[in-house]
Every structure is written in structure tokens, then in C-alpha cells.
């Protein structure tokens, strides 16, 4: 389980994330939603340990991510990922895999899964946006993590790419993985997520099941309604 308790982030006088409390059950897909600038990326960065929270704590299976060994069980994909352009896809994944004590996934198998096997020897510098997204996911799953944190994983993918990614997420969920991801593509979130959290101006305004939130309406419609109401308050 991912447990986020009273997480807060302040940059000088600006509070970017405020009193975030969330629990994400193991083996589920959790969609973390919010308008642009709501604090989603900052929250994810605090969860994976890339930036220090001003207050609060994060624990995964009861343990914090302060120690390096606890990062063995997580995978992270940043928004709009970049890579080492002089390496090819296979070399890059080999590099990433070598940083873990346990090398659990075969590189060719992962490349096949994300649809990059045919270009494994191509320099990453020549990759398109969609290919980089695929490689971003590949490096996040190369260590066969129990918990995946993906920031806008569907960004830049064509409809076929998005369908392939959704299939991968559902496959990983069947394997018992927990996926926590941000996305603006709400139709995809509605399709695959078990639970969602909605953040607006750094504050969590909803956390729970997709069904309870949607109340029979499309997620996008309900999301716009809720955010508009928040803005007018």
C-alpha cells in the first residue's frame, strides 16, 4: 500500500501541495487528476523522493523511501522523458537495469512489450516523442517493480499507442503491481482506473472510486463540473 500523510510542499511563500492524504491499495490502478498547475507532478516527485516535502511523509508497505534499497521496488517515469542520446535503446535499458541489485526483467522482453524491439539498436537521440514515451515506460518496469509511478504516461501517444499502454497497465495489474499515474486523458483513466484522486490548487478534493465520482456520467464531464465549482468557490 502507498500511504501519503499530510504531505505539504512550499516554495518560499507559495504552497504548491497542501495537506495531501491518500491511500492507494496494492494491486490497483490509481489515477491522479487535476488541472494544469494543480500540484500533481510535485506530489509524485515527493512520493518517489525527488523533492523533499515541507511537511508530511510517504510510506510504501509501511516503509519510507529514504533508504536506497526501498527504491528497488519502485519504477518512475517522469513527464516528457529525455534520455542519454548517445546510447541506443538496448544500451539504455541495460544501464538502468544495472543500477538494481536484482535484474528481473529481460531487456528484449521489455522492449517487445512496449513495442520497441525493432528499434533496439537505434540511438535514443533519433527517437520520436511516442518512442520516448515507450522507452520511458520500459525503463520504469525494467526492474520489475511492485509500484509504478507514471507522470503523464499517455502523453504524445497516438490512439494505438494509448491502447497498447492501457493493455500493458492492465497486464501489470494482473501481475499484482500497483500503478499510480497522472493523466489528462480522462477517457483512458475512466477505462482502466480503480480509484482516482483529484487535486486542485494543491488540495485534494476527491479520493475514491471512479464509479462513485462519476455517478453515471462521463468522468470528463464530472471532472469539469467539480473543478468549475471549486474555482467559483
Amino acid at each position: 500500500m502507498i500511504k501519503i500523510e499530510n504531505l505539504k510542499k512550499k516554495y518560499f511563500e507559495t504552497t504548491v501541495v497542501s495537506d495531501l492524504n491518500l491511500e492507494v491499495k496494492k494491486g490497483t490502478i490509481f489515477g491522479f487528476l487535476g488541472p494544469n498547475g494543480a500540484g500533481k507532478t510535485t506530489a509524485v516527485k515527493m512520493v518517489v523522493g525527488l523533492c523533499q516535502p515541507t511537511e508530511g511523509k510517504v510510506s510504501i508497505d509501511g516503509k519510507g523511501l529514504e533508504s536506497l534499497s526501498s527504491r528497488e521496488k519502485i519504477g518512475y517515469m517522469p513527464e516528457d522523458p529525455y534520455f542519454y542520446e548517445q546510447l541506443n535503446a538496448h544500451e539504455f535499458l541495460d544501464y538502468m537495469r544495472s543500477l538494481f541489485r536484482k535484474n528481473n526483467r529481460d531487456i528484449d522482453e521489455v522492449l517487445q512489450l512496449v513495442g520497441l524491439k525493432d528499434v533496439k539498436n537505434k540511438n535514443v537521440g533519433a527517437f520520436s516523442k511516442g518512442m520516448k514515451q515507450r522507452l520511458g515506460l520500459a525503463q520504469a518496469i525494467i526492474n520489475d517493480p511492485e509500484y509504478l509511478f507514471l507522470d503523464e504516461p499517455l502523453d504524445g501517444l497516438d490512439p494505438i499507442g494509448r491502447l497498447e499502454f492501457k493493455k500493458i497497465f492492465l497486464k501489470l495489474k494482473k501481475e499484482g503491481k500497483t500503478i499510480f499515474f497522472n493523466s489528462h486523458v480522462l477517457s483512458d483513466v475512466e477505462e482502466i482506473c480503480d480509484d482516482i484522486g483529484i487535486i486542485h490548487k494543491g488540495k485534494l478534493i476527491y479520493s475514491g472510486s471512479v464509479k462513485s465520482f462519476c455517478k453515471g456520467q462521463p468522468l470528463e464531464k464530472r471532472f469539469v463540473e467539480v473543478i468549475t465549482k471549486e474555482i467559483s468557490n
Binding site: V48, S69, P78, L99
Partner: protein, 253 residues
């Protein structure tokens, strides 16, 4: 320890594939071979000219490579967010900084070995024999460059590649002028002597690594001239990398 080596290996791979490095190395090798022309017009001082220009060329081009590649080493990782991917893995900032440093140092060592091979071939061709004495100058050159790489790594955690390059050149100039500055301040008012002393101890004294003049005149450097710079470079490198690590740790990504 393993992660340091993994990062170093991949940094080495990246830097030796960088076209900028090939360009600089190409110029360096051309320059070294051109010393033969300058030797031919030197009126009987062929070997001295070849050694002088050759060692100076190796020094200048190794510093250029260190500045160009080092000044963007960490900055690029922050700007392109590859650092996010690295630090979300079981990699500490210490391992990252040391790994990047060692990777660049290894690629610079490879360049230095290539330039040294051409230099030795040119000296041999000019009937100067196998110039083993020059290897001491090149070793000290390597120690100086290893400090310089640590310095550019520090700058690249702070600022843009252009600013890092400018600061590095300033430090290079000051580092080689410290003894002159201090000597010139000897007969000045106390405040100026104070300032000169402050600058002398604050900046790295890079002239300690320069034994090229001895080598050109076939004078063997003393043990002190080898050991003290070795210890100095290790200490300075450790301090600079420690500072770079501290700054990177404090940075909110």
C-alpha cells in the same frame, strides 16, 4: 560501489561518442603533428620546439576537452530531467556525482593517452628518442585536469554551460597567476597583501602541476614536485566533489 562504476562506464560511453570531443581531439592531433613544421624553422632548436609546443598542446587541448564536456555534465542531466530517472533508482547523489566524474575522467585519460602517443612518435621522429621524462609532465597534466573536471562538475550543478565555461577559464587564468600576484603584492600596502593572500589560498594553485619547462630542458622533476601535486589534486578533487554533491542534494528537482 557497483552503481558508481555503472554510471562511470555509461558516462564514458556517452562522452567518447560525443562529436565535440572528436573535433577537439582531431585538432589536437593535427597540432601535435604540425610541431614538426615549427621545428623545421627553429634554427637548430628542433627538439626543444617540438617538446615545448607538444607538451603545451597536450595541456591546452586536455583543458579544452575538460571544460567543454564538464561544463554541461550535470546541468544537462537537470535540464533534460535524466537526473529524475537516475535518482528515482537506488542511486544516491554521491554515487551519481562520483560516477559522472570518473566517467569523464576516463574519457579524458583516453584522449591524453592518444595525444601522448602522437607526441612521443613526433619526438622520436625528430630523433629525440623515447621521451620518458615527458611522461612526468603529462602525469601532472592529468592531475591538473582531474581537478579541473571536478571544478567543472561543481559549476555545472550551479549554472549554465556558458557560465560554467567562463568561470572555469577565469579560475584557470587565476590558478596559473597566483604566485605572480602574491609576489607583485609583496611591496604593496597591507590590505593589498591581505587580498593577495586571500586569493592565493582561495583559488587552486594550478602552477604546481606545471613542470613542462623542466622537461623541455631535460631536467627531472623532484619527488616533491610529483608527490605534493598528487596529494593536492586528490584533496582538491575531494573537496570540489563534496561541494557539488552538497549542492545537488539541496536542490529541489
Amino acid at each position: 560501489m557497483n552503481n558508481i562504476w555503472v554510471i562511470a562506464k555509461n558516462t564514458f560511453k556517452e562522452t567518447i561518442r560525443d562529436k565535440i570531443m572528436y573535433g577537439i581531439l582531431g585538432f589536437a592531433l593535427l597540432f601535435l603533428m604540425s610541431t614538426l613544421f615549427f621545428a623545421s624553422i627553429s634554427l637548430g632548436e628542433d627538439i626543444k620546439v617540438v617538446k615545448d609546443l607538444g607538451l603545451a598542446g597536450i595541456y591546452i587541448f586536455s583543458i579544452i576537452i575538460a571544460i567543454f564536456l564538464g561544463s554541461s555534465l550535470i546541468y544537462k542531466e537537470i535540464e533534460k530531467r535524466t537526473l529524475y530517472i537516475m535518482l528515482s533508482k537506488p542511486v544516491s547523489t554521491t554515487q551519481f556525482i562520483i560516477g559522472k566524474y570518473l566517467g569523464l575522467l576516463l574519457s579524458l585519460l583516453l584522449n591524453l593517452v592518444l595525444m601522448t602517443a602522437i607526441y612521443l612518435a613526433v619526438v622520436y621522429y625528430e630523433k629525440g628518442g623515447f621521451d620518458t621524462l615527458a611522461l612526468w609532465a603529462i602525469l601532472l597534466n592529468f592531475l591538473e585536469v582531474s581537478v579541473f573536471i571536478a571544478l567543472t562538475v561543481l559549476f555545472s550543478t550551479l549554472t549554465t554551460p556558458l557560465a560554467s565555461t567562463i568561470y572555469s577559464i577565469i579560475v584557470l587564468y587565476i590558478g596559473h597567476s597566483l604566485s605572480l600576484v602574491r609576489k607583485a603584492a609583496e611591496k604593496s600596502p597591507e590590505i593589498i597583501r591581505w587580498l593577495a593572500d586571500g586569493v592565493y589560498y582561495l583559488f587552486p594553485n594550478l602552477e604546481k602541476f606545471n613542470v613542462r619547462n623542466f622537461i623541455v630542458y631535460s631536467v627531472h622533476p623532484t619527488s616533491a614536485q610529483i608527490i605534493y601535486p598528487l596529494l593536492y589534486s586528490v584533496l582538491l578533487t575531494a573537496i570540489l566533489l563534496w561541494l557539488a554533491n552538497l549542492l545537488l542534494k539541496k536542490r529541489d528537482l
